[in-house]
Every structure is written in structure tokens, then in C-alpha cells.
């Protein structure tokens, strides 16, 4: 087990390096120096050169890469070229806001998905199954940014139940700040709900279809061993997809954050793109992608812990 965990960890290193190379390379595909693009045309050459030196943009590319990588590993992503504040600080605030949404959305989606999937499998072929399958198919093809708009429409525009924008002031009472969470969390929960629900349904049906499980039931044995068997066998694939879905929520919430004006990492990325704020852009993408890699890693290890056959 430990060997497996260490091996997966080692395998993640080249991927992380590759990710950093892609992120860095992406930014430098575009010709031109970020400072040239940012400075007003009337700025004197000395000032521009000074700026370049200050941000390290005057060195050769590979030196820039290693410097950037070296500092990034220590949590130092440099200064924003837009407002010269440390990137790390901005990123931490934005990430924690995104995390709040992603964790709540994922939990809600997973809980609903597992419930619905189990119910559908229990009532295989009957109306709850059909209803759920239809809903889940809708769920996985939902453009979540549109869904966000529809929710705003239903709960803020047509009926003034819930706030539609931002995350609320610190000065607001707690319940009002929680109200700001409701719509974004529901929006984010829909896709994981559909995906997990479909998977749980299929997995449970497959396990229930196995001969010996049928035999357990036919012998009139207590249902509990059957349920335990189902859970034990359904857990690894469900867990894997859950990890992936949570990762997608982290990286993909940018569109939903835009609709709800939520000050998360997606919003930060969006701003960085418009301001051409290269250090912020690089840092945000790198951190989100690294999270995704680590998440996959943890899921792999957790899966192997549950089901030793997976260890290769």
C-alpha cells in the first residue's frame, strides 16, 4: 500500500512539471513582452527597461521559467503587474471563496446523486427510475452558466427570494450571507448530481445483477450483507468520479462565478485575462491544475485502499 502510494506520488511529479511547463509555455507563445503591452506608449525606454528588470522579464526564457518554478514551489508567485500586490495574497482569498462554493456544491450534488441513483436502481424499470434517468440526462448536458441565469430568473427576478450577486458584505448578518450561497451552490451541484447519480445507478444495478448477490437475496438472507456488498463494490468507481467532479467544480466554476459575481478564483482568472496580468494568470492556472493533479492522486490512493485489486 505504502509502496503504491509512493509510486503514484512519484508519477505525479513529472505530470506536475509538465503542467508547469505548459502553463509557462502558454503564456510565452504570444509574442511580445508583457511589460511592453502594459506600459503606455509614451513611457520612456529607461522606465520600461527598469520595469522589465523589476519583474524579471529581461532574462532569457529558460531562466525565467526556472526562477518562476523555483519561487512558485515556495509559494511565491511574484507581484501582480496590474497593482503590484503579491499574487499569493490575491490567490489565497479567491481560492478560499471558490473552495466554499465547490465544497458545498459537491457535497450537495454527491448526496443528491447517491440518493437518486440508489433509488433509481432499487426501482429499476419503474417510474422513479425513468424519471431520474431523464433528469440525469438533462443534468449532464446543462450549460451551468445558463442554469445559473435561470435560477436567478426564478428566485431573484420573478420572486425576490434570494440575492443574485456577490457574496455579501462582512457587515451583513450570517443568515443573509448564507443566502448569497444558495443559488451558486445549487447551480454547481446539478452536474455532479447527474453524473454521480447515473454512475451509482449503473454500478448498483451491475452489482445487483451478479449471480451470487441474486442468490443472497433469493435465500431470504437479511438485506444488510447485500447492501454492504453493494457499497463496498460501488465505492471505488464512484469515488474516482467524485474526485474528478470536484476538480471540475474547482476549475470550472469560472463561468458560474461570472454570473453570480462571486469573487473566487474564476473571477480572478477572468480579471487577469482582461488586464493581461501574466503573473496572476500563470499562478491561478498552475495552482488550479496542480490541485486537480493532487486530487486525482488522492482518489487513486483512496481507491487502492478500499480495493486492493486496483494496486498495480
Amino acid at each position: 500500500m505504502l509502496v503504491f502510494a509512493i509510486r503514484r506520488l512519484l508519477q505525479a511529479i513529472p505530470i506536475l512539471l509538465g503542467v508547469s511547463l505548459v502553463v509557462f509555455g502558454l503564456v510565452h507563445i504570444v509574442p511580445g513582452n508583457p511589460i511592453d503591452m502594459l506600459m503606455p506608449p509614451e513611457a520612456s525606454p529607461e522606465v520600461i527597461a527598469q520595469m522589465k528588470a523589476a519583474f524579471g522579464f529581461d532574462k532569457p526564457l529558460y531562466v525565467q521559467y526556472f526562477l518562476w518554478l523555483f519561487r512558485a514551489m515556495q509559494g511565491d508567485f511574484g507581484l501582480s503587474v496590474f497593482n503590484a500586490t503579491p499574487v499569493m495574497g490575491q490567490l489565497m482569498v479567491a481560492l478560499s471563496n471558490t473552495f466554499i462554493l465547490a465544497i458545498l456544491g459537491a457535497s450537495l450534488g454527491f448526496a443528491l446523486g447517491i440518493t437518486f441513483g440508489m433509488t433509481a436502481a432499487m426501482f429499476h424499470g419503474k417510474w422513479p427510475d425513468k424519471l431520474f434517468s431523464a433528469l440525469a440526462t438533462c443534468g449532464v448536458s446543462l450549460p451551468h452558466y445558463w442554469c445559473a441565469i435561470v435560477l436567478v430568473l426564478a428566485f431573484s427576478v420573478l420572486n425576490d427570494f434570494l440575492p443574485a450577486q456577490g457574496m455579501g458584505d462582512d457587515s451583513l448578518p450570517l443568515y443573509q450571507r448564507l443566502e448569497h450561497l444558495v443559488l451558486p451552490v445549487i447551480t454547481l451541484s446539478l452536474i455532479p448530481m447527474g453524473v454521480i447519480g447515473r454512475l451509482v445507478r449503473a454500478t448498483v444495478l451491475e452489482i445487483l445483477g451478479q449471480d451470487f448477490v441474486g442468490a443472497l437475496g433469493a435465500k431470504g438472507l437479511p438485506r444488510w450483507p447485500v447492501i454492504r456488498h453493494v457499497c463496498k463494490n460501488a465505492a471505488p468507481p464512484v469515488l474516482a468520479i467524485m474526485g474528478l467532479q470536484f476538480g471540475y467544480l474547482l476549475g470550472g466554476s469560472i463561468l458560474v462565478e461570472t454570473v453570480f459575481n462571486w469573487p473566487g478564483s474564476g473571477n480572478l482568472l477572468n480579471l487577469a485575462i482582461y488586464r493581461r496580468d501574466i503573473p496572476v494568470l500563470q499562478a491561478t492556472i498552475l495552482v488550479l491544475a496542480s490541485f486537480f493533479v493532487m486530487l486525482n492522486l488522492m482518489v487513486d490512493i483512496a481507491q487502492a485502499a478500499i480495493d486492493p485489486r486496483i494496486r498495480r
Binding site: 513529472p14 505530470i15 506536475l16 509538465g18 503542467v19 511547463l21 505548459v22 502553463v23 502558454l26 503564456v27 507563445i29 504570444v30 440526462t137 438533462c138 449532464v140 448536458s141 446543462l142 450549460p143 452558466y145 445558463w146 442554469c147 441565469i149 435561470v150 436567478v152 430568473l153 427576478v157 420573478l158 476538480g247 471540475y248 474547482l250 476549475g251 470550472g252 469560472i254 463561468l255 461570472t258 454570473v259 482568472l269 477572468n270 487577469a272 485575462i273 494568470l281 492556472i285 488550479l288 491544475a289 486537480f292 493533479v293 486525482n296
Partner: protein, 303 residues
């Protein structure tokens, strides 16, 4: 029925009467099964309908997607002359939706097609050749796979700048790794099947094996997967435009329209949600279609 005896003459035509090169007659049976599947047929008709109103936009509307008038700004659904209402600059929404679908569909289908060719090729090579080349391809793909798809698309587009070309490029990059993976998996599986070994054992060349035995068995699952990717692609590509990273105004495009109408949600709430409905509908149809294909292609499921 006992093993060695001949059974009754069937209604099938004996092969001797139809000499043909040994080509699979498999696709015909898949087609027959598809036609008998009501859901797949229905979504196919819906998709054909969407295709018709977008490509044939001048036939179904005589409005102009680019010009509106201040007089007709943000009219509700059911306004005479503008049955789906108008947008924030008074342009007819029905007209905009018809023309807008062109961009949305193009920006969704083209990247998947590019990725299908590139990713399918790389995947089949990696799966069939294996070894160092296969390993190299797969490790590079792992790196791109490490990005959540929307994040990668936004990052590439955000850096290259907005515009349809960059959006298509970005999405193609996003969809290559999953297609490589799927192609590699099914090819590696097909390669191990005994009938591929049997073909090798009778002196068939590698290229012939790939063409006759591997591709035929591998193309189906890859195409089905690509169809299901289109349903994702349309959401992401409209999403890019929604963020202002894809198609540029004043071009009509569903995601872009959704974004600009969003500002008017308090004035014309229903009109504002319409372009998103189109994205949703198209995406769902592609999804259901790929489900239909998948079950129609499974020989063992349908006897």
C-alpha cells in the same frame, strides 16, 4: 439443435449468390437498429431541425441579424413581427438565434472533428504500436489531461486573445487528450484479441490488420465518444463566448447573446434565457444521440 447437423435452409441469401470482397456488412445492421430506436430518431430529427434553421436561416426568417432599431428594444415574447421578442439593441431574437446557431455549431463541431482526426490517429498509433512511442504520446497527454477542460480552454483562449479561430484551436487542444485516451484503450484492447493475432498468424501486414480488423472494431466506440464530446464542446464553446473569449460582437452566437441579454434580465426575463435554452437543447440531443449509437453498435446487446 445438435452440433454437426445442418439446420433448415434460412431465408438468407447464400453467400455464393452475392460474391463480395470480404467487407463487413455490420454497419447495415447498426443502421437498422438505429431506425427502430424512437429516442435516437427523435433527437436526430430535432438536430436536423436545428441544423435547418441555422444553415437555412434566410429561409426561415427574413430579418437581419445585425440591425435593430431603438424603437423595438427588448420586446417580450409574442410581439407581433418578433415572435421571440427582441434583444437589447432591438434586433429580432428569432433571427439572431437562427443565424447565431451557425457560429455555435461550427465552434462546437469543428474542434471535435479536428481532435478526432489528430487524437484518433495518435491514440490508434499509441495503442497499436505501444512501446516507447506509445508511452511518450500517453505521457504527454497525461499532462494536458491534468487540466480541467474548461480551465484549459479559458487559459488558452485568454492568452491567445478572443476570436473564433483561437476558440476553435483551444477546444481542439482540450479534446485531443480524451480522444487519444479512448482510442488508445480500445485499440490496445482490440490488438490483444485473438482474431488480430489470428490475422497476424496468417501473414496479414500491420497496415492491413489496422484497416480491416482494428479500425472497424475501434472506429465505432471512438465516433460515439466524439459525439458525446460535441455535447460538451457546445457548452464550453458557448461558454467561452459567454465570457467574451470566443466569437466577437456583433456576430450572433448563442453564448454571446446569452451574456449580453443577461444584463436585461430584469426587463425581459424570459427572452434573456432563450439562447441558453438552445445551447441546452443541442447539447442534450447530441448526448442522447451518442447514447443511441452506443447501444446500437453493441453487437452482443442486440441479438
Amino acid at each position: 439443435m445438435s452440433e454437426a447437423t445442418y439446420d433448415l435452409p434460412s431465408t438468407r441469401v447464400a453467400a455464393a449468390e452475392q460474391p463480395a470482397a470480404p467487407t463487413p456488412g455490420y454497419w447495415k445492421s447498426v443502421g437498422q437498429r438505429l431506425i427502430r430506436d424512437p429516442v435516437t430518431m427523435f433527437v436526430t430529427f430535432v438536430l436536423l431541425g436545428i441544423l435547418f434553421i441555422t444553415i437555412g436561416a434566410p429561409l426561415v426568417t427574413n430579418g437581419d441579424p445585425f440591425t435593430g432599431s431603438v424603437m423595438t428594444r427588448l420586446k417580450p415574447i409574442g410581439t407581433p413581427g418578433h415572435w421571440l421578442g427582441t434583444d437589447e439593441t432591438g434586433r429580432d431574437l428569432w433571427t439572431r438565434i437562427c443565424y447565431g446557431g451557425r457560429m455555435s455549431l461550427l465552434a462546437a463541431i469543428l474542434p471535435v472533428s479536428i481532435a478526432l482526426v489528430v487524437g484518433g490517429f495518435l491514440g490508434v498509433v499509441a495503442g497499436f504500436v505501444g512501446g516507447k512511442i506509445g508511452n511518450l504520446i500517453m505521457r504527454v497527454m497525461d499532462v494536458f489531461y491534468a487540466f480541467p477542460s474548461i480551465l484549459l480552454a479559458i487559459a488558452i483562449c485568454g492568452i491567445l486573445g478572443n476570436g473564433l479561430r483561437n476558440a476553435i484551436f483551444a477546444l481542439a487542444i482540450v479534446f485531443i487528450p480524451p480522444l487519444v485516451r479512448v482510442s488508445e484503450t480500445v485499440t490496445a484492447q482490440a490488438r490483444q484479441l485473438d482474431f488480430v493475432e489470428a490475422a497476424r498468424a496468417s501473414g496479414t501486414t500491420t497496415m492491413q490488420i489496422i484497416r480491416h480488423h482494428v479500425l472497424a472494431n475501434v472506429l465505432g466506440p471512438i465516433l460515439v465518444y466524439a459525439t458525446s464530446l460535441i455535447s460538451v464542446s457546445i457548452i464550453i464553446s458557448a461558454g467561452l463566448s459567454f465570457l467574451g473569449l470566443g466569437v466577437t460582437p456583433p456576430q450572433p452566437e448563442w453564448g454571446l447573446m446569452l451574456n449580453s441579454l443577461r444584463q436585461a434580465i430584469y426587463v425581459q426575463p424570459y427572452v434573456a434565457a432563450l439562447p441558453g435554452l438552445m445551447i441546452f437543447l443541442t447539447s442534450m440531443c447530441f448526448n442522447l444521440m451518442s447514447d443511441g449509437f452506443r447501444s446500437a453498435m453493441d453487437v452482443r446487446l442486440n441479438k
